[in-house]
Each structure stands twice: as structure tokens, then as C-alpha cells.
């Protein structure tokens, strides 16, 4: 896609040679991990196309939207209510945070022992590699983990940062705090766009985002079939793209893909041979193009049937109640929905354990692989207790702690293969 978009990338002040290099690596990586799959759904062509144009056509769309006076809002977390962003007719995109890019530069702003996801979004910005970040009129951070909080302080010198406070407990006072933060974010968006959030535009936005989450819920119900009709890699990609793509177009494409899946399920057609162990992932999010562990798992004789993650069920499990008629009632419904998120930054967070066990049961998972990004304290801590809960319930589990580098792939493969052999 290089030549057609060069002018646009130059305008966005990207480091063109380095960006070309990144796209070449990404293309190769995608080819090896995705295009090598057998028995893929036709509906995945849409995802292949979106991903191949993720720094091209999608960025062009953002520039066109900006030319029409619309604003672009970048986020890093499922706590930022997309409904509000859409209500003011702005575009919301998840920002690049899944590759080892610009780490040397990032380590000047954050300590070396910072998780790869944080280093990545800073690195992408400092190395001028992310056209999404460069297109943003506002970047919304959130006070989830300490690593992110402090990173946003440093990042603010380089990008138009706004930070939303997310509480760490779920008491009435915490809900009140989060509600106040939702209202403050609404005001920020109104100031940014010059548009008012009304019961009318918010109701429409709630409908749009609920429809997207419903489509992804449908996908998850269909993949739970035995045998599973779609690879975990493909479902992860779909979840990843849900953060970048136009929500209405994305929903329509996923519904279509689900129709295809339904036909497959009806014929009991599986994506993997019968008897292939079904594994569920639980833990930290995997941002594009972080496909390392899913690839290792699915090339070790197992198939992934679930992602208990922010780029997975944590983002889509709950819908916003859509029966509110006043703006106040809608804000309450939003707050109630977002306060259900079982992020590891909450204390206590017992519902996450319960959700993992329920999910493993619904998916008929043979085992769970916990994935923790190195230096992610909240999820690393929960991995110990979740591991115990899984052991108590008799579900085999493996805990993996890794980052974005490729140096441990052979060791990961040995562990995952041994885990799969253990299940057979």
C-alpha cells in the first residue's frame, strides 16, 4: 500500500523509511500467521482487507472525516465509553500498542521494567510510526494501572492527552466518582467538537455500540460449538479490528461472517481435526500485531476457543441498557455497564475468577492458558489466584509470562506443546 499513501503519511509526519520497514515486517508476519491457515471462512477476507489497509485506507477515512470537521479520539482501554465519542459524531480508534517499536526512545520516558504495551504506544509515538496517534485530536487515557497513569504524564508532553479517572473499587462512592468522570468526559467531548450530547444522539450511539457487542457475542456463541468452526487467531483478529474499524460497517461484516459460521456449525464442520484440545486464553490484552502466543498455541496442536481479555470478552460481555429515555437515565445505564468490567486493577475482583470459570464451562475448554505481560502487576497477581481457582475446579492450566520479543518463542513452544500433550 506504500506509494498510494505516501503523501498522507508525510503530512502526518511519519518516519517514512521506518514505517515502510514496519509495514513490510507486519505483512510478512501476517502472511505467516494468518494466510497460512487452512479451511478459513470467506468472511475473513474482509478482515484481511481491513488489516492490509489498517495504516492506509482506514487512515484516509480518518483524514476525510477530519476534513468534514469530525474529530478523532484515540484510546487505550475499554473503560473509555465509545458511546459518548460517537454521540458527538467523533471517530474513536484504539491506538497502536502491540509491537516492539521505538522501545529505545520509550525508555527515555518510562522505566525499562515497564510492560511492553505501554512501551509500545510511547515508542510508536516517539518513533513516528503510528498514523492513528498522529491523526488524533484527543487521546484519552485512564487511571487503571500505575504504569499507565505515570506513562500518560510523560506522554502528555508529546500528544493531546486527557485522563479519565477509573476507580479501583466498586462501592457506591466509586460509582459516583466514575459517573462524575463520565460527565466530565462528555463536557470535554462537547468542548472538542462544539456538539451537545443529547438523549437523541446518545440513544443512537448506545444502539450502535450495543449492536457491535451483540455481533461479537454472537460470534463467541457460535465458536463455542463442537467442533469449533473458527480459529482463535481469527477471532482475536476480529476483536482487534473492532477497535479500529467503522462500527456500523464492522458490525455488518461480522454478522455476515456469523451467518457463514452458522452454516458451518449446522454441518458440524470444524476448523481443527476432531479431538484437538480446546484452550481458553485469560489475562492481558493482545493488541495488533501481538499474535505471538496464539500462533504458538495453534501451531502446537490446540485450538483457542476464547479470549478472556480486554481485546475479547471483557469488552463485549455486557451491553448498555437501552430503555432509558432521558439523558440522565442513559448516563446511569452507561455507568452501570462500565462498572461491571472485571479489570485486574480493581480490588477485590472476585467476579473475574467466577467469569473465567463460567466461560471455560460455556466453551467446553479443556484447559486455560493464562497470559500475563511481563511487569503487569495487576494481572500477574491475579494469575496466582486464578491459577489456584482453576486447579480447585479441576481445569488444567498453564501460566505464561512474556512480552513482545521473539527470543522466547522456542521456550514458549516447548511449554505449550507439553501442556497440550498433558491434555491428550
Amino acid at each position: 500500500m506504500s506509494e498510494a499513501y505516501r503523501e498522507m503519511w508525510e503530512k502526518l509526519n511519519l518516519d517514512i523509511p521506518a514505517h515502510d520497514g514496519l509495514l513490510a515486517v507486519l505483512g510478512k508476519f501476517y502472511g505467516d500467521i494468518y494466510m497460512s491457515q487452512q479451511n478459513r471462512l470467506k468472511g475473513m477476507e474482509y478482515l484481511d482487507f481491513v488489516l492490509s489497509e489498517v495504516h492506509g485506507l482506514r487512515i484516509k477515512e480518518l483524514q476525510d472525516a477530519k476534513a468534514q470537521g469530525r474529530k478523532v479520539v484515540g484510546t487505550f482501554c475499554v473503560f473509555v465509553p465509545e458511546e459518548l465519542t460517537l454521540a458527538v459524531d467523533a471517530v474513536q480508534v484504539g491506538l497502536c500498542a502491540g509491537a516492539e517499536a521505538g522501545f529505545d526512545a520509550a525508555e527515555k520516558l518510562v522505566p525499562r521494567n515497564t510492560c511492553a504495551l505501554i512501551k509500545s504506544f510511547i515508542g510508536f509515538k516517539l518513533a513516528r510510526l503510528c498514523p492513528f496517534t498522529e491523526s488524533c485530536d484527543l487521546i484519552v487515557g485512564e487511571t487503571t494501572c500505575d504504569g499507565k497513569k505515570k506513562a500518560y504524564e510523560a506522554f502528555a508532553a508529546h500528544a493531546p492527552m486527557y485522563v479519565m479517572e477509573v476507580p479501583q473499587q466498586k462501592n457506591p462512592a466509586d460509582r459516583a466518582l466514575f459517573r462524575a468522570e463520565v460527565v466530565r468526559y462528555m463536557e470535554k467531548l462537547e468542548e472538542l467538537t462544539g456538539r451537545k450530547i443529547t438523549a437523541g444522539n446518545l440513544a443512537a450511539a448506545i444502539k450502535t455500540v450495543n449492536a457491535k457487542r451483540r455481533a461479537l457475542q454472537r460470534l463467541n456463541r457460535l465458536r463455542a460449538a463442537q467442533p469449533t468452526p473458527i480459529s482463535g487467531r481469527d477471532v482475536l483478529l476480529i476483536n482487534q479490528v473492532s477497535f479500529y474499524d467503522d462500527p456500523v460497517r464492522f458490525t455488518a461484516s461480522i454478522e455476515k461472517l456469523c451467518d457463514e459460521l452458522e452454516a458451518r456449525v449446522a454441518k458440524a464442520e470444524g476448523v481443527a481435526p476432531e479431538g484437538t484440545p480446546r484452550l481458553m486464553l485469560a489475562g492481558c490484552p493482545m493488541a495488533v500485531p501481538n499474535w505471538k502466543l496464539p500462533y504458538v498455541i495453534e501451531s502446537s496442536g490446540a485450538v483457542i476457543v476464547g479470549e478472556e481479555s480486554c481485546i475479547g470478552t471483557r469488552n463485549i460481555r455486557d451491553l448498555v441498557a437501552d430503555d432509558g429515555t432521558t439523558l440522565d437515565a442513559m448516563i446511569d445505564a452507561l455507568v452501570d455497564r462500565y462498572m461491571k468490567i472485571d479489570c485486574a486493577t480493581f480490588t477485590p475482583n472476585a467476579e473475574r475468577q467466577a467469569n473465567i470459570l463460567d466461560m471455560a464451562k460455556e466453551l467446553s475448554a479443556d484447559g486455560v492458558i493464562q497470559y500475563t505481560l511481563m511487569f503487569c502487576q495487576p494481572y500477574a497477581n491475579e494469575a496466582i489466584r486464578v491459577g489456584q481457582a482453576l486447579a480447585d475446579s479441576g481445569l488444567p492450566a498453564l501460566a505464561i509470562e512474556t512480552d513482545y520479543s521473539m527470543e522466547d518463542v522456542a521456550q514458549l513452544k516447548t511449554r505449550v506443546e507439553a501442556f497440550v500433550e498433558m491434555l491428550k
Binding site: 509470562e401 522466547d408 521456550q411 511449554r415 507439553a418 498433558m422
Partner: protein, 251 residues
């Protein structure tokens, strides 16, 4: 000799071969250094007569699968191979410790030999055979003699670091301060044992524990581990062939 199945354990430091006959009896064992040319070493070990079936394990298992040996080659991980090998040698085994050239594995077995849990060191080779080999080099003592040498040391000297590079620095600074080299050697062994015991406790190990891998040939390690864990320890006669035997039995 009726060679039917070969188990090959291609590790980072050495390659072991165990050949079984149709009755499952061991008819041949061999070992070679891995070197930078593991494929050539595998070919040399097989000596131009690959049995009809080969089961490869170890970090180089895929390499064997891709060699075109004219045999039916399959692969199995070290975890499963050690479990099989240990269960065959000592059916009462409930936990396995394998300290190889560059990694350490702790495996918990169910009665009957099924793997329940396992842990491996990641990324870094601290506290493995390579570590001992390096520090033995610093002491200018052949690796086979390093364990007996350390057993002459007096206990109590604490070595804090497990990093191969920094351990050398720590050992030389202790020598400069006048400590006996045997005491330092014992301290280095004790440091590995502490780290290894922690890994075993993490998997919730239960005795009897089978100690495998090249480092199980080191009598100082065997003694210190038995003391630290205070449990019955099984030490096979050929501890570095457990993986290759288990691989052959998994075929």
C-alpha cells in the same frame, strides 16, 4: 541387534540416543556434544543406520524431524519424554527434577506417570549445567571433578547471585578476600540448590523425586538437594538418558 525405535534427546549441550528393540529393551545408548552442527552430530550418533521409527525430543526436536533420515520421525516435548522415562525406570516416581545444559524442569506426576504440572526456567540459563560448567572453568577444574571438589568445602559461604557472569565476579572477589576455593565452590552449588528447591515447591512436589539430567551426575548437587528437600531421591544410573529413553517409549 533388532533396532526398532530410537529416542533422540537433542539438548542445548548434548545429544543422547537410546535405541529399543521390538521388545522394548534398550539395545544401544550413545551420547555426543551438540556443538554448532547438531544435525551432523545426530547423523554421527545414528551411524548411518536409523531405525525405522525415531522419536525426537529436546529443543532440537524439530531439527531431527526435518533431516530426511529415511525413518518415520515424530516429536514429543522434554516434559512428556522425561515423565515417560522416569515412570519406566522408577514407577514410584511422583516428581522429576531435570537439570540439563541450559534449562531446569520440575515436573509433578500423578500415580501412573501422567504429567500434572510442570515449571521450566525461562530465558536465562542461570543455575543450569551451563552455569556449573562455566564456574568450574573459572576454578580450572574439569566439570566431572567439580562436584567432588565442592564436597570438600565447608558450608556457610553464601553466594547471592545466580547470574553466570556475576557469579564469576562474586566468586573471584571472595577468593580475593581469602576464602578457600572449595568453600566457594560449595557455596555456588548451594545457590543452585536453593533456586531449584524453590521451583520444586512451586509445583507442590511430592516424593519420591527422580533427579535426571547431566547435573544429576554431580554428587554434591545430589547430596545438597537431598538435604534441602529432606526426601527420598531416585538417581538413575544414566540420568542424562532419561529423556531419550522416554522419547523412545513415547513412540
Amino acid at each position: 541387534m533388532d533396532a526398532r525405535i530410537a529416542g533422540l534427546d537433542v539438548g542445548s549441550r548434548s545429544i543422547e540416543l537410546v535405541v529399543l528393540d521390538a521388545g522394548g529393551e534398550v539395545v544401544r545408548r550413545a551420547k555426543a556434544a551438540t556443538t554448532f552442527h547438531p544435525a551432523e552430530q545426530v547423523a554421527r550418533l545414528l551411524d548411518g543406520a536409523a531405525p525405522p521409527r525415531i522419536m525426537a525430543t529436546g529443543y532440537g526436536r524439530e531439527l531431527v524431524a526435518g533431516m530426511g533420515l529415511g525413518a518415520e520421525v515424530a516429536t514429543v516435548t522434554e516434559i512428556t519424554a522425561y515423565a515417560r522415562g522416569a515412570a519406566a525406570l522408577h514407577p514410584e516416581t511422583r516428581a522429576i527434577l531435570d537439570i540439563g545444559g541450559q534449562d531446569t524442569k520440575a515436573i509433578l506426576l500423578a500415580p501412573g506417570g501422567k504429567v500434572l504440572r510442570f515449571e521450566m526456567n525461562d530465558r536465562c540459563a542461570a543455575g543450569t549445567g551451563k552455569f556449573l560448567e562455566h564456574v568450574a572453568g573459572v576454578f580450572q577444574i574439569p566439570i566431572e571433578e567439580f562436584g567432588p571438589y565442592a564436597m570438600q568445602g565447608r558450608p556457610g559461604l553464601g553466594i547471592n547471585t545466580m547470574c553466570t557472569v556475576f557469579a564469576e565476579t562474586e566468586a573471584t572477589s571472595l577468593m580475593a578476600r581469602g576464602h578457600r576455593p572449595e568453600d566457594i565452590a560449595l557455596g555456588l552449588h548451594a545457590a543452585i540448590v536453593r533456586r531449584t528447591a524453590t521451583m520444586l515447591r512451586r509445583i507442590g512436589f511430592t516424593p519420591p523425586l527422580l533427579f535426571a539430567g547431566g547435573v544429576a551426575r554431580n554428587p554434591c548437587m545430589v547430596r545438597l538437594l537431598a538435604e534441602a528437600l529432606d526426601c527420598e531421591m531416585l538417581t538413575p544410573a544414566e540420568p542424562d538418558h532419561v529423556g531419550a529413553l522416554g522419547a523412545a517409549l513415547s513412540a
